[in-house]
């Protein structure tokens, strides 16, 4: 079997697959060709600035932006006026959290979030702590979800914002946002959710889910990179934000800067496709995901799924392969694009804080692989990936002193390990 990572056709029974295989759809997605097609005229023909009010080029661009705004709003049950365009979800998270903190600081200084949020939320909260805000980081349970009683207990009369993600980017676990939102509304607290991974994959409705502010990104749902949005509720309650980027007063004064018209057009189209295809696609992805899970778990012992299988994105599978280090596994399957929670694959040399947050233990965090299935994956690809993963895990376990010790009946948790040299 070839391990070359260039475009070779791998024999896999009678089903051929094109290599490399992309299965990292939580990182980003391929821009759907239908999206690209819709964007193209806005580069070379309809290239006006949407803020140009006095000529045809500007009107055409503005009209395209407004159509996209409608499409995005429709996907999440909002109105067009509630959609603020940004450069992406990191900016949206920053605007939501800092914008609320600054606007409502007279009312209170307490913010609640949870341990396995994206860094765009965690680091923003950490910055606010430096400016005198109090932040509660709720723990998650073993299945990756917060305990609503913890949230209730954490709320006090100074709480102004709860920010809890809809779906986690590593383990795909869905938080009980509807219940969280209801609780926030009961207490008069604003609820922001980073819904980047959920929107377009699983139904999300700002009214039914009691969401006041939501971050969205185009490139996670087969749109282009560099464009995102923030949903900001206009009634019951009306949410006000202090702008974090000053300038020409675009986007109702909440986000200045010339609009990325091509990106926004693509974002709108991506949302329109998601709206019509989501239900069918979710079934398709869950089928592929379960096929992958069953093939791997049917052939290997001591593999562990990280996070709830019940409350999970259909395209996500996050597995720890005990006794095998994640980066070495990625190296063995280098014709397949996936991610690992291993320290060696992170810039910080720390294993995944998300998996540690579940109480998985550092050793299992080092051994984890995230498979992110998407619209363009096929059953033949899944079969190929399962086969390569199983072969590589077996090979690396033959190489693993831990696997050998475990098979000899040694309890690895009772071994007194020597201190490792500093990283």
């Amino acid at each position: 079997m070839s391990t070359k990572s260039t475009n070779v056709i791998a024999g896999n029974g009678n089903k051929d697959v094109k290599l490399p295989i992309y299965m990292d759809n939580h990182a980003t997605t391929r821009t759907d060709p239908r999206v690209v097609e819709e964007m193209l005229p806005y580069f070379t023909e309809k290239y006006g600035n949407a803020a140009s009010r006095n000529h045809e080029f500007g009107w055409v661009a503005e009209q395209a932006v407004e159509q996209a705004r409608e499409r995005i709003a429709k996907l999440i049950g909002a109105t067009a006026k509630e959609i603020i365009f940004t450069s992406g979800a990191t900016e949206s998270d920053n605007l939501a959290i800092k914008g609320v903190a600054e606007m409502y600081k007279e009312k209170g200084n307490h913010i609640i979030t949870q341990a396995i949020e994206h860094k765009a939320v965690l680091d923003t909260c950490k910055r606010l702590e430096k400016y005198g805000f109090r932040v509660t980081y709720l723990p998650v349970q073993k299945d990756g979800r917060i305990d609503l009683d913890d949230l209730k207990r954490a709320m006090d009369d100074k709480t102004i914002l709860v920010t809890i993600m809809a779906a986690n980017n590593e383990i795909g676990v869905l938080q009980p946002i509807r219940e969280i939102g209801a609780l926030c509304h009961e207490r008069g607290v604003l609820f922001h959710t980073d819904a980047v991974q959920q929107i377009g994959k699983v139904p999300f409705n700002v009214i039914q889910d009691n969401v006041d502010i939501a971050s969205i990104s185009a490139h996670k749902l087969y749109g282009p990179k560099g464009v995102g949005a923030l949903y900001v509720r206009r009634k019951n309650p009306r949410v006000q934000l202090v702008a974090q980027i000053d300038g020409g007063g675009h986007e109702r004064g909440m986000r200045s800067g010339t609009l990325n018209v091509t990106g926004i057009v693509g974002f709108g189209k991506a949302c329109a496709i998601a709206g019509s295809d989501m239900a069918e696609e979710a079934k398709y992805l869950a089928g592929l995901r379960d096929r992958l899970k069953d093939a791997i778990m049917g052939q290997l012992d001591e593999v562990y799924i990280n996070g709830s299988m019940e409350h999970r994105l259909p395209g996500n599978l996050n597995i720890s392969f005990a006794y095998v280090e994640g980066e070495s596994l990625l190296m063995g399957i280098n014709d397949i694009a996936v991610s690992s929670g291993s320290a060696c694959t992170s810039a910080t040399l720390e294993p995944s804080y998300v998996l540690k947050g579940l109480g998985a233990g550092d050793d299992l965090a080092h051994s984890s692989i995230r498979f992110g299935l998407g619209r363009f994956n096929t059953a033949a690809e899944v079969d190929y990936v399962a086969e390569r993963v199983v072969d590589t895990v077996r090979r690396l376990r033959e190489l693993s002193p831990l696997y050998e010790m475990a098979k000899e009946g040694i309890d690895l948790t009772k071994v007194q390990w020597a201190a490792e040299p500093a990283h």
């Binding site: 291993s342 050793d363 190489l399 002193p401 831990l402």
Partner: protein
Amino acid sequence: MAYSDKVLDHYTNPRNVGSLDKASQEVGTGLVGAPECGDVMKLQIKVNPTTNIIEDAKFKTFGCGSAIASSSLATEWVKGKTVDEALGIRNTDIVKELSLPPVKIHCSVLAEDAIRAAIGDWKKKNGQTQTQGQPQSVAVEQRA
């Protein structure tokens, strides 16, 4: 991260994978690292009692590709050397040979530690004193 050809070669075709009888008088075993740190190396040597030459070496490693390559290379290098010569292998030699980037230097340090731990274990078994600078890095195995 792009791996050097030599790291890829050792990862794809690791040399001297396996285990020697750790109860044997002629065998020294070094087990260094810790699972929660993401690296564990076991390196074993078999020493000729009359010549002190390392006649065989085996390893098993849990760790990234660079850790696997460093320990694989270490077994190649200790074979045929006397125990004292093997103690002269430095992690910097491994870094150079495998073109390891700075972020992977700890893999080479661990491989040097594994060599020293294996030799230390063999010396202890054979009533020799510990070499100066010997890391106290042989993990203690306890049966469950």
